[in-house]
Symmetry: C2
């Protein structure tokens, strides 16, 4: 018959396969700084385990242990279990991973050393893979890389030499903007679209696969009137955020909070109508009202208890100040202060910056602030580009730091932008001086949620965010000159996401379309 009797109870083993002709067959995404390929297939032992001898990091809070458990989950849930009908020779049996972490702490902060070395040499008895990392977070990345090397040996039993790989110190930060409701459960008002905690957790899991970090932005800040909320709901919101942050942190994912002012904050006035210029002219926030800044101070004070990341994002984009002139009270106030709409906008942004600085944050602001009054911005400001290309060049020339998100290439909600465009977007374009290159601290792909809710968030993000992840992680000279050279490898990553239950879209469509017909995920 076609199937043999089911052999439950026998020793079962995972197979660890390395492709035979690097780099074509090394399906790691994003590609590490350096990879050396072996030629041996190792089998994962049934009692595959974690060893931490000589590690300075003691894992009191279980971050490493949990990461190892997730590794086992992901490689076993991924259809990779095979029943081995014979005994596997000790010389090809991988008994576990030996992790050595060189520093004690587990603080997750901007600039934390996330590099690692992963060596899988088929030597020793028993054989262990070896991870060496400066911090627990580098070790987590190494486990993700390891998981991508494990798969079911379908085509061949050929043994290939084991590989070692190394990701150096260089890295660039990366974020995804998600629009979140501050107050979950409010039926009528959410921030564009409700994103549920289980889905955000799922997105965080998948971000860890691609080694990304997260940016939560465009908060709605509501109060009781609009959906019957009372103070206690704010406690609920804090609890929600703490859960989210805890979940992300244990996966090595930083959470950056973005609080856009004075624009994109109209919803705050639903709870606090005093923040609106008037009932009929509702944004930007009232620049003339002390309460506006008292509230920003309160929010940032609360934020500082939750979000310990070095930066806070204060927005400053798309501010149409005409309501200020149309509202007599504000017009008079500006006149008194000798301000016009443009200088009042500057006044607002700089005042908000000062508040954030007083809470220990460095500030990120959207590029409009730089374009209008770049010289006045606090020198610790990071300018966030979005309007198009060529901005980073200007920002770093002015000695400020920059994050690149040019919308023509890195906005996920632009559904006509294909993964190749995401891959080819170079944040350092035309920036050649090393000291200026250092000022480009990273890039961010943005998923603005007008047309994104729980039903389509995953396929909007993936696989295109992965293309940007490689651009941000991989050393420039290892990046493909032609994105089509990495189609096979990124399609492998897309299938890996699918295998792990993540709804990553087909690659052969620009946005998040359905597959055009029957076929393998490796070819679509």
């Amino acid at each position: 018959m076609i199937w043999h009797a089911i052999c439950l109870g026998l020793l079962f083993q995972l197979i660890l396969v390395f492709g035979s002709n690097y780099p074509k067959n090394v399906n790691i995404w994003p590609m590490p700084e350096s990879v050396e390929l072996g030629n041996k297939t190792l089998f994962i032992s049934k009692d595959f385990n974690l060893k931490t001898d000589a590690s300075k990091y003691k894992d009191h809070s279980g971050i490493l242990k949990d990461g190892f458990t997730r590794l086992l989950d992901v490689i076993t849930s991924n259809n990779v279990i095979e029943y081995n009908f014979g005994k596997v020779d000790q010389s090809v049996l991988l008994q576990g991973i030996h992790v050595v972490i060189l520093s004690e702490g587990d603080e997750l902060q901007y600039g934390v050393d996330e590099s690692y070395k992963l060596n899988i040499y088929p030597k020793g008895n028993p054989i262990y893979a070896h991870i060496e990392a400066a911090t627990i977070y580098g070790a987590l990345h190494a486990l993700q890389t390891f998981s991508q090397l494990c798969h079911f040996n379908l085509n061949t039993r050929k043994l290939v030499r084991a590989c070692g790989m190394y990701l150096g110190g260089q890295y660039r930060s990366f974020k995804i903007c998600l629009l979140l409701p501050t107050l979950v459960g409010c039926k009528t008002y959410t921030s564009r679209h409700y994103q549920s905690l289980p889905m955000i957790k799922k997105v965080i899991d998948s971000m860890a696969y691609a080694k990304l970090i997260i940016n939560l932005s465009r908060w709605r800040y509501l109060h009781s009137q609009d959906c019957g909320m009372v103070l206690i709901q704010s406690q609920n919101a804090i609890q929600w955020l703490l859960q989210l942050k805890f979940y992300a942190q244990r996966r090595g994912i930083n959470v950056l909070a973005e609080l856009d002012v004075p624009g994109h904050a109209r919803s705050w006035g639903i709870g606090y109508p005093a923040l609106w210029p008037s009932k009929t002219c509702q944004e930007p926030l009232d620049v003339s009202n002390d309460f506006t800044f008292k509230l920003i101070n309160g929010v940032l004070s609360d934020f500082s208890k939750i979000f310990k990341y070095r930066f806070v994002h204060l927005g400053g984009d798309e501010v149409d100040t005409s309501c200020w002139n149309l509202t007599p009270r504000i017009r008079n106030w500006m006149k008194q202060k000798g301000l016009n709409e443009s200088t009042a906008y500057e006044y607002f942004v700089l005042k908000a910056q000062k508040i954030a600085l007083s809470h220990g944050y460095e500030v990120i602001n959207w590029e409009e602030t730089f374009n209008h009054f770049g010289n006045e911005l606090d020198r610790k400001t990071v300018v966030h580009n979005w309007l198009g290309g060529g901005v980073a060049e200007q920002v770093v020339k002015a000695g400020l730091r920059c994050i690149v998100s040019n919308q023509d290439k890195w906005y996920l909600d632009h559904l006509n932008t294909d993964w190749q465009t995401f891959y080819m977007n170079e944040p350092l374009e035309n920036i050649t001086k090393p000291e200026q290159q250092k000022l480009v601290i990273g890039g961010e792909v943005c998923a603005w949620a007008e047309h994104i809710d729980v039903s389509d968030i995953e396929q909007t993000i993936w696989p295109r965010a992965a293309a940007a992840a490689e651009r941000l992680w991989t050393v420039p000279d290892k990046l493909a000159k032609d994105p089509n050279d990495v189609t096979s490898r990124i399609s492998n990553f897309r299938c890996l996401l699918n295998q792990r239950g993540v709804a990553a879209a087909p690659l052969n469509l620009s946005g998040r379309g359905a597959p055009t017909g029957p076929g393998s995920c490796y070819l679509q």
Copy 2:
């Protein structure tokens, strides 16, 4: 400030809210046979627990315990935790659920009694909710219903009387067709589209929310040539199926296997070319070859060890027999036997039925078999309608059983069919005699996977499958005459799926489109 200090460590409680004006505010989906509404809000205790005194079922395999753990997961992960700043009065504190199951066994089979009573009376000290069910599977349904009653008390602290509800013995079966690869991991060939185990598990979870069962269909049956597979991969496939079946069974979800013959089986010939009429004319399976039936016997023998459900589905649809006449060998064989294409098709289907019966199965066949030779079908045959309306009427008149899946209303891959159409499709249309009504054993919504892979399977299924679920579960006189009367309740269910991380699509689109603009999931 807006947020108070974070009050960790205080007693926290879930709130259980019942709507105040039934049935409008009872957001249970699908609606039970009878619901009686109370007027009291109960708070879920921090140490909410499961009690099983007096239960005949002993839960040796932990099905109930796991179901209760999932209940806790789903209500706590769902943003429903609230910090209670005072002490909750014992008179409104729900301490747990007392489950009484009247039968010992846990066999999951067609016709198993899935009814339950769920009473949440605010009486007793401490107060327990009460579930009484004939079987463990009725109790699992009751826990799902309970989970839908728990939510964060957003609008009001008003106490409403607790409600009791009851789902009677009546039910109709329900299935979703999924196209699965038999051999996971094969890179080039899958059954239309690869569906990964983690995603199928997620779909099973969501099916349990809507109280559905599953039909796995259109297997690919491959062998080594096409992707380097060897025998051991079949073991892997069995393991894969067993995992899936175990996972489903513990959630009360039956798995029905569908093995379409002689059509829709072209892929088998990739592994066994002898099954093709010829290399250039590859389907249907060769009716003249003994090996064809030997193979079907082998597969069904294997199936019978895995799938213990009373039925197996043998297909029989869309058979274009012209290859049989075009292939000299088969043409000669037919001539010898005195068969033409039409009677050879009948010969094939009836022979396959006999094989299935010999393995203890009752057989489901697509309606073409009934349309061509209904009188010859085994009397245990269940005829599966798909071509359009009015078929069930003919089938039950002929004394055979029927499953309804008319493609114009219950095919999920028809993206222009809206949820209202799914809701209004009545399997008993024009069937008035009770003994004939009994022969309509259920309905099935089908998700054929030409354009469905991991990236869009969830939004293709939900929320439309839920509309059909209510049609199949709810007693006819409780069903809405106008589907728009239940828009609010089904949108609530869609949001519940979103809250639980399921990518259910907006309701205000016919298929699985993206939200048209910002807005609440309750309104889209």
